[in-house]
Structure formats: C-alpha cells, structure tokens
Symmetry: C2
Subunit: 134 residues, 2 copies
DNA sequence: GTGCTTTCTATAGTCGCTATAGGTTCAAGC
DNA sequence: GCTTGAACCTATAGCGACTATAGAAAGCAC
C-alpha cells in the first residue's frame, strides 16, 4: 500500500538520531508506528512530517512540552493563530531572559579577565571576583 | 572551641538551599563537616567561605566540575594566575557561544511573530516556520 | 514533657537526550 | 540456501544540577 520508512531512514532524513526518535515515541511526542513482521518500526510520511516539525521546534529551543502543545494546537480546528503565537511569545520571553543572564555573566567575566595583570596568583582578579563579594 | 553553623544557618547565610548543600557534599564539592552528638552537620567558617565561593562560581555559570577545578587551583601553591584565567577564558567562550545561539533563535522568533497577521490559523507565520523549512 | 521546627537518610523525579549490553532481523552476496 | 554484516530491537543506567518526597530523629522553647 503505502511506502514506509525504517527508523534509520527517518533519522537520516530528519537529522535526528535513531535513539532520539525512539525517545520521542516513548514520551508520547511521536505516535507509535506500525511494525514489520520482525518487529521493526515502519514509519509513514506523516511521521516524517511530524518529526520534521519537532526538529524545527527543538532548533528554536522550544522544550518538548511546548512542542507537544504546538502539535495539539495545529490539530485543533478551534485553535487560533493567537494561541500559537502566545506560546511563541512566551518562549521568546524566556529566550530573552536567558540572553540577559548570560550577557551579565559575560560582562563580569570580561571585567575580571581584563583587570587581571596575570602576575601573582594572590592578585588574580578572576580569583578575587570568586572569593570576595562582587 | 569553635563556633559552628547548622546547615540551615549556612543556607541562610549563603543563599543556597539546604538540600543543595547536602548535594554538594555528596558530589565531593564541599568537605564533610563534623557532626553533633545527634548526627546533625556542624559547619565551620571555612565551610561558609567555600560555599560562598561555590555560590559565586555558580552565579557566573561555571559548571560544578569547573568550580572544583578552581578550588583545587586556589589550594595549589604552584598554580599560576594564568591557570585560573584559562578556565575563565574557556568558560567565557562557552557563554558567548550560548549567547550567539540564543540570539539566532531570538531573531527567528521575532521575524515569525512580526510577520504574523494574527488572522487565520492556516496563515500563521509561526506555524509556517515550524511546518516548512526555513 | 509537649509541641514545633529543623535536620536526618534514602529514593525518585526533572529535562532531553546519550550510552551500554545483549540480543534479533534484514538485505545483499555467493 | 547460507552467511555475513549492518541495522534494528529492548531494557537499563548515566549525564548535570538540582528538586521533591517520605518517614524518622534531633533540637529547642515553653
């Protein structure tokens, strides 16, 4: 009937790892595929599309739970564009918060490293920043 | 002889959580303290200083392994300032790499959200970015 | 001695995989 | 038909840095 894909082919086409695909199935993110007589997974093109979606979501940093929510929204005929955008907005806010955190860390490390004269260990500015309050 | 601190006091003074302090002991980052007759941990001011150090390292995003390395360097009389700075430089590079990743994600999310007209679900730019290659 | 808070240990869960062990199936070549 | 080697199967444990839970014991004020 339908052409199917082995888990290896699916991995190659999506850029996911085989173990990761099985993991997605285990946590309910990817539906269980049919099996061959020998018990090997036989995926359909629909699985390929869904895994592509998951992969893109992951590359945007969405956690698996959010991707699961997005998949539900896409299947829900009553869901609106705003519902989808709300998830993306929320994620964007988290991404920006992380960037802000990391930039503060970057600035502190830069300052300490710039101040350091690389002379004696006792005067190391990096050590200083860690030992005393700053 | 020496005034000691309970784990709760140590937590309050350092801003760590009690369970986290016990975890640090478990993984060998904080030395095992003496115990009271009843088995409660009795910390010294040296523990307080070390935990403060760990806390500052964590707030700079250093992984526990790096903090362990830094602690060893501080105790090693032969270690130089450059040894310490090398660890910080390496960490700074990792922080910058993460920032770059997150900024790319931020830009993509911003673009999708800006393009979205919030009209029909089928035309949602965010969904579009996830469903089709981009 | 009576409560109440703090502390104790041990275990399991979080997230998103990754690694390992030990076995089975499949596809191609002969 | 048979062999070989790759791909596949399940189950389990590990990563980092905690967090949560349960049930018991200690400590301290009144």
């Amino acid at each position: 009937m339908q052409e199917t894909l082995s888990i290896g082919e699916l991995a190659r086409r999506t850029g996911c790892q085989v173990v990761t695909i099985r993991y997605y199935e285990q946590v309910g993110l990817l539906p269980e595929p049919a099996r061959t007589a020998g018990g090997h997974r036989a995926y359909t093109p629909a699985h390929l599309r869904q895994l592509d979606f998951i992969k893109r979501g992951r590359s945007l940093g969405f956690p698996l739970a959010a991707i699961s929510g997005l998949l539900n929204l896409l299947e829900d005929r009553d869901a609106t564009c705003s519902d989808i955008d709300a998830l993306a907005e929320q994620h964007l806010a988290e991404v920006r918060a992380k960037i802000a955190d990391l930039r503060a860390i970057e600035a502190q490390l830069e300052t300490s490293l710039a101040q350091c004269r690389h002379e004696t260990r006792a005067q190391c500015a990096v050590a200083e920043a860690l030992v005393s309050a700053g």
